[in-house]
């Protein structure tokens, strides 16, 4: 029997990876809940309002994006637009070439993963170095992130120590403090030697044109203190209407993602550095990226564009905890990825159509989402889309026989009698492999089919009906 791809990945996951993913997601989730409910009287109301703010913003992008563009230009930044991943990559390369730049330091941005920017730049003779510790390790290992906030949640310290040794970053040492110190030393000289600093943005305020970048490590601060040119790569859905909305969203983002009141560094960037400041970019470019987002906006799943990439839905998801991130085979794993990835895949939708099915629809993701996205509803819509487009669904038990049973009373009665035979048959003979595997370790309950009809008949005759 063939499995869906995500099930196959989950089945092959190493036991210690599964254990560490499970443990750390569970801890973060529990801390998050405690923090929100200890500190606020009505955290659910906050989530609802945050959701309404973001929904309003994405349904009014036609108004807000030009506002942001005008504000940024007035502050001295150059604004670019990119429809596709290729055009976003080429825009970055063009900016670098125009400056004669070959060295870039990158802060963590999901959009750059989406468009595979680092790879593209390297192919064109530029260095594009990841500076977030987790992303740096992913880069030297030619691996992929498995969590949107904690990219190396699937790796242990011994693997990391081996990679550092291999890359010439000191003799084998798996103490996390030493690993961090070595990366600190190596990367700070890279920032200082780089021409361009690339960041994403968590929010952009339409009111002031100011973007917000949050990090814990301070790598984006270093990018914006050491280099002379700042490129910000931003998905068009990152807009919020007003500055005051930033307060509410920031209060939710850190608590939801990493159980912090605020992430360590919250940067509000409104343009290139001021004239009196000796450090930082004199030149600033903002690239607004579509790459499939307008298609999502046109679909009945547009609510997913509210997502602020906090990672809370990954941490709480029973499927993510068992399968880990690589099982989702895309940049965005977990519940958010199960909705977003197949949609952003465009024509390749069928290749990721199994993701929306890998959910028990338990609703935990919706309950924790700081912008209140009804993820289970969206998963159902995508299942429907897959069905309508005739995408095959391996591993699903054939339902034709069931339909026959349930619509033909004689067949139904005959099968009830057949069920009684089950009490006497060894479970090994059940012709369904999944059931066999299940029954291998369990006793089947005794067959009680047909009892209801018998009971009903007796009840009627007792009552003289």
């Amino acid at each position: 029997m063939r499995f869906q791809q995500i099930d196959q990945f989950a089945a092959e996951l190493k036991a210690d990876t599964r254990a560490s993913v499970y443990q750390s997601t569970k801890t973060t989730h529990e801390k998050r809940t405690k923090l929100l409910f200890d500190q606020f009287t009505d955290p659910n109301r906050l989530r609802e309002i945050a959701g309404e703010i973001k929904q309003h913003a994405i349904e009014n992008l036609d108004t807000y994006l030009p506002q942001v563009e005008a504000k940024l230009q007035a502050a001295g930044a150059q604004v670019h637009w990119a429809s596709t991943a290729e055009s976003a990559c080429e825009t970055v390369l063009r900016i670098m070439r125009a400056r004669g730049a070959t060295k870039m330091v990158k802060a963590k941005t999901m959009v750059s993963e989406e468009i595979e920017l680092a790879h593209f730049l390297e192919k064109h003779g530029c260095e594009a170095l990841e500076t977030d510790l987790g992303e740096f390790i992913i880069q030297i290992d030619h691996d992929h992130p498995s969590h949107i906030v904690r990219p190396i949640i699937h790796k242990n310290r011994r693997e990391i120590a081996q990679s550092f040794e291999r890359e010439g970053l000191g003799a084998y040492n798996d103490d996390p403090g030493t690993i961090t110190r070595r990366a600190r030393h190596f990367l700070r000289h890279k920032y200082l030697a780089a021409d361009v600093g690339l960041t994403g943005a968590n929010f952009v305020s339409a009111e002031s044109g100011r973007m917000v970048i949050v990090t814990n490590e301070g790598n984006s601060r270093f990018c914006l203190a050491a280099t002379k040119c700042h490129i910000a790569l931003i998905g068009i859905e990152k807009i919020v209407p007003r500055d005051r909305d930033l307060g509410l969203l920031l209060n939710l983002l850190g608590r939801s993602g990493t159980a912090q009141d605020l992430t360590v560094y919250t940067e509000f960037i409104g343009g290139p550095k001021s004239a009196a400041q000796p450090d930082g970019p004199e030149e600033m470019h903002v690239i607004f990226v579509d790459n499939g987002r307008t298609e999502v906006l046109a679909s009945d799943c547009r609510d997913i564009l509210r997502c602020i990439r906090c990672g809370a839905c990954l941490n709480v998801c029973p499927v993510y905890r068992q399968a880990s991130g690589h099982a989702y085979r895309s940049v965005y794993p977990g519940p958010v990825g199960a909705v977003l990835s197949p949609l952003l895949a465009g024509e390749k939708f069928p290749s990721l159509a199994d993701l929306p099915k890998a959910s028990s629809l338990c609703g935990a993701c919706h309950e924790v989402c700081p912008v209140n996205i009804p993820i289970p509803d969206l998963l159902l819509r995508l299942r429907n889309k897959a069905k309508e487009e005739g995408v095959p669904s391996p591993g699903t038990p054939p339902m034709g026989a069931w339909a026959l049973l349930a619509t033909q009373p004689t067949v139904w009665k005959a099968s009830l009698f057949g069920g009684k035979l089950m009490n006497h048959l060894p479970t090994k003979m059940i012709p369904v492999p999944a059931l066999q595997a299940w029954a291998d370790k369990r006793e089947l309950p005794r067959w009680r089919g047909g009892e209801f009809r018998k009971w009903m008949k007796e009840r009627k005759s007792r009552a003289g009906l």
């Binding site: 309003h56 301070g218 298609e295 906006l297």
Partner: protein, 203 residues
């Protein structure tokens, strides 16, 4: 390039056209995300110190304590904002080497950096830096220890208030604790790219 812009906007308009009505912008009282119960009736400098401790930062109120702290950590060489140095110099002993310019070719020489903060947020234990008050971005970032000089009158009670007062500086940075990571097996390590020790000198 402008054609790409047009293409994106035409797709956005196309996507939004079928909506009968668009989601309204919610009006809400910003107070809902303020931890008022914790703030009410508190001295803001005291609360700031308390909340800074919670996120792993240190709050001090006199220069002598700061000097003792630096000496104890053997952080004897550093960068100080030239505007602050005249006030601080009398407290620093001859065992310190202080530079009032920051040489980016020798970033590792500076064990500490002392710069001015533009404010702080008591509720979250946050120090606020911006381009107008920070003499050098690198001086507040690259050294292992960062000391931000915070004036009492500039302490905001909460995040919401601080957002409302962002002003027009193009680079405002909120620092809530020392630089940290939990990337390796979820173990918390301080001092990744930025300061491993974050101090506020409240004056």
């Amino acid at each position: 390039m402008s054609t790409e812009r047009e293409a994106i906007f035409s797709r956005i308009r196309g996507a939004l056209a079928p909506l009968h009505e668009r989601a309204p912008l919610p009006q809400y009282d910003a107070e809902i995300s303020v931890m008022r119960g914790m703030i009410a009736g508190r001295d803001l400098a005291e609360l700031l110190a308390e909340r800074m401790k919670r996120v792993g930062s240190i709050a001090l109120t006199d220069v002598a304590a700061l000097v003792a702290h630096l000496r104890e950590g053997k952080w004897l060489r550093g960068y100080v904002d030239p505007a602050l140095w005249p006030g601080l110099a009398p407290h620093f002993g001859a065992d310190f080497t202080v530079e009032q310019t920051f040489d980016r070719t020798r970033v590792d020489d500076y064990a500490f950096g002392i710069t001015r903060a533009s404010g702080a947020i008591a509720e979250s234990g946050t120090i606020i830096l911006n381009d107008a008050t920070t003499s050098r971005r690198l001086g507040s970032l690259a050294p292992w220890v960062h000391v931000a000089v915070v004036e009492r009158a500039t302490i905001f009670s909460d995040v919401t208030q601080a957002v409302a007062a962002l002003g027009d500086d193009r680079n405002v940075v909120w620092c809530t604790g020392p630089s940290k990571t939990a990337d390796v097996e979820g173990i918390l390590i301080e001092g990744v790219h930025g300061p491993g020790v974050q101090i506020a000198l409240i004056v």
